[in-house]
């Protein structure tokens, strides 16, 4: 095999992995959109908030310490204990559930039956609020997230593939990031369990009923409010997972909230309402932008990924205006 070919394979594989990372973020959007028709702009901030909370709990940070110190002139930072990772994750999930309840009770409940753009705006307000709130609660410095995820390229794969290239060509073996592999695994587990949840549990079926028809769901006695709390809780959990994966790469900091931008083209490509769409959309975007950057990027100056992801999504949409997996828009007169 020629090295170029192997590089292409490598780019594709890494693109797939990157795509999974995008999908993790996109998944949260899809869940909420499907159940309530809300485009949740705050999903990225939720990921940041979840990750901040996780690190905060794990390292025993005093919440609002900055505020407390500013008001009382004290100097508190940490409680001085370390919480075991799993317990910290569980506690963080608890926080996200509380968050979901608050969002439902104080915001969504008052905005039932509003137009999508209004709900979208509400999530923007929520995002603003949480950006400020998260920073006040946990501080704006960069935090290291350590939940025991592996990092670095897979040496085994590198060595195993080293010999594949044709003689005389420069080739260093196939590179795959272990963190990405774990992320892919987690994503698979997440999607499978979500599917099982929605197919085989009562709550899950209720969720699907709501997604299909609000009225119908209400008529079989499902409380929309409960459903929304559950959906937002799950989305909060997904945000936590995304926050962990991305946070492990870059440290937990404000920029984490910007990963939402990477999920946008994925959503548009995959359709807002489809979980498989989010996954496959992510893969397509990941591979597409990486390949383009690899093949064309150097010729036109690089850094093409941001816009190319959208152009790629656009190209798909021109042929399928409702997204890859979105429900077909039927125009009736």
């Amino acid at each position: 095999m020629s090295a170029d070919f192997l590089y292409t394979i490598e780019v594709i594989l890494n693109g797939l992995m990157a795509g999974v990372m995008y999908s993790l973020v996109a998944l949260g959007f899809v869940l909420i959109f499907k159940a309530s028709g809300i485009f949740n702009y705050a999903q990225g901030v939720m990921a940041l908030f979840a990750a901040l909370t996780l690190v905060g709990i794990q390292t025993g940070q005093v919440p609002f310490s900055h505020l407390i110190n500013a008001i009382f002139g004290t100097n508190v930072h940490h409680f001085g204990w370390q919480v075991p990772t799993l317990l910290a994750i569980a506690l963080t999930i608890g926080v996200m559930v509380v968050f979901a309840i608050i969002v439902e009770r104080y915001i969504l409940h008052h905005l039932v039956n509003q137009e999508p753009i209004i709900l979208f705006m509400a999530t923007i307000g929520l995002a603003y609020f949480m950006e400020g709130f998260g920073d006040i609660m946990w501080g704006s410095d960069i935090k290291t997230l350590d939940v025991g995820l592996p990092s670095g390229g897979s040496l085994w794969l590198e060595e195993y593939t080293l010999g594949w290239a044709a003689e005389g060509e420069q080739y260093y073996g196939m590179y795959l990031d272990k963190l990405d592999m774990v992320a892919s695994l987690v994503a698979i587990v997440l999607v499978v369990s979500l599917t099982i949840f929605s197919q085989y549990t009562t709550t899950g079926r209720a969720l699907r009923a709501v997604a299909d028809d609000h009225q119908a769901a209400l008529s079989v006695g499902i409380s929309l409010r409960t459903i929304w709390v559950i959906v937002w809780s799950i989305a909060g959990f997904v945000a936590l997972v995304a926050g962990i994966m991305w946070g492990a790469k870059s440290g937990v900091q404000f920029s984490l909230s910007l990963i939402a931008l990477k999920a946008l083209p994925v959503l548009m490509l995959g359709g807002f309402t489809s979980i498989p769409g989010a996954i496959i959309g992510g893969l397509i975007i990941g591979v597409g932008e990486k390949l383009f950057e690899y093949a064309i990027g150097p010729m036109i100056g690089g850094a093409t990924e941001n816009w190319f992801a959208y152009v790629l999504a656009l190209m798909f949409l021109v042929f399928r205006p409702q997204g890859l997996f979105g429900e077909k828009i039927i125009e009736r007169v």
Partner: protein, 358 residues
Amino acid sequence: MFYRESGDFKKTYQKDSQTFPIKFDRWRYYFVMLVAFVVVPMFLTDYIANAVMIPFLVWAIAALGLNILVGYTGQLSLGTGGFMAVGAYATYKLMTAFPGMDMVSVILLSGLITAVVGALFGLPSLRIKGFYLAVATLAAQFFLVWLLNKVPWFYNYSASGQISAPQREMFGVIITGPHATPVAGYLFCLGFAVGLAWIARNLTRGRLGRSWMAIRDMDIAAEIIGVNPLTAKLSAFAVSSFFVGISGSLFFSVYLGAAEVTEAFGISVSFSVLFMIIIGGLGSIFGSFIGAAFMVLMPVLLKNVLVGAMGWPTDLAAHFEYIIVGGLILIFLIIEPHGLAQMARVLKEKLRLWPFPH
């Protein structure tokens, strides 16, 4: 409460369809104009001009433009930042290539250039609708920023890609550059803002505006009564981009005086203009202004209150700023989902009916 409408009747269609058919509104409008053109300049300081009034006007123009697209035509766009960048860079190129050109022409030409670019990126709107259309405009946003960053010709090959506005005069008054007085810059922007608002009003009240709203409300019915979706949508994109381009042009030349595309015209700009029109009110010219006022002035006001008056640490204040602005957005939406303009409209209706509740 303040409305006295008895005897305010219309004998011609001109009078009946004027922008402010009620006498009280008309006088209020004249009053605002008087304040804006005469009173404000008398009290203008550098700070009020450069940190409050000029940005407010510049953003109001952008919001006006985006509102034409989103509010009136129903085409969601997140490409505002990119289009503003086109306007800004067009201005830079025109100013440096033709130093003798007067600023009004420069800015109008920049608007026209942006209109062409905008119409181009509006093409996908023929097939893609709703939230999905945002992808096309986002593509525009990222692509335009990338292009303007990547091709050195756009920034005259300067080392960092920064562009800065040279000094230009009109009628002997310095408009751009560091030596421009705040009053000159303010009045220049105000002139554009008022003029463009007037144009927006004219366009939206007539045939074109109705074709836009028809497309927004029910595209199939619109087509069946003779509205060509292609021309309606593309004209909306072009007009919207014209406004946005002018806004970008003023943003660069009068307001900031220098700009760098990735920092000044990023995606956050697109979002914040969108926030302005949603908060202000979709499909409302007044809403564009009030939305811009909210998004521009609220943080400034909060900062001055929290840091200036209450002496909080800047970071704490900044975080609370986010919390308060976010909270206010939520509260406003819960009280009146259709924006501040709708709130004003309801208030006006209430006052007109006063003392009756309905």
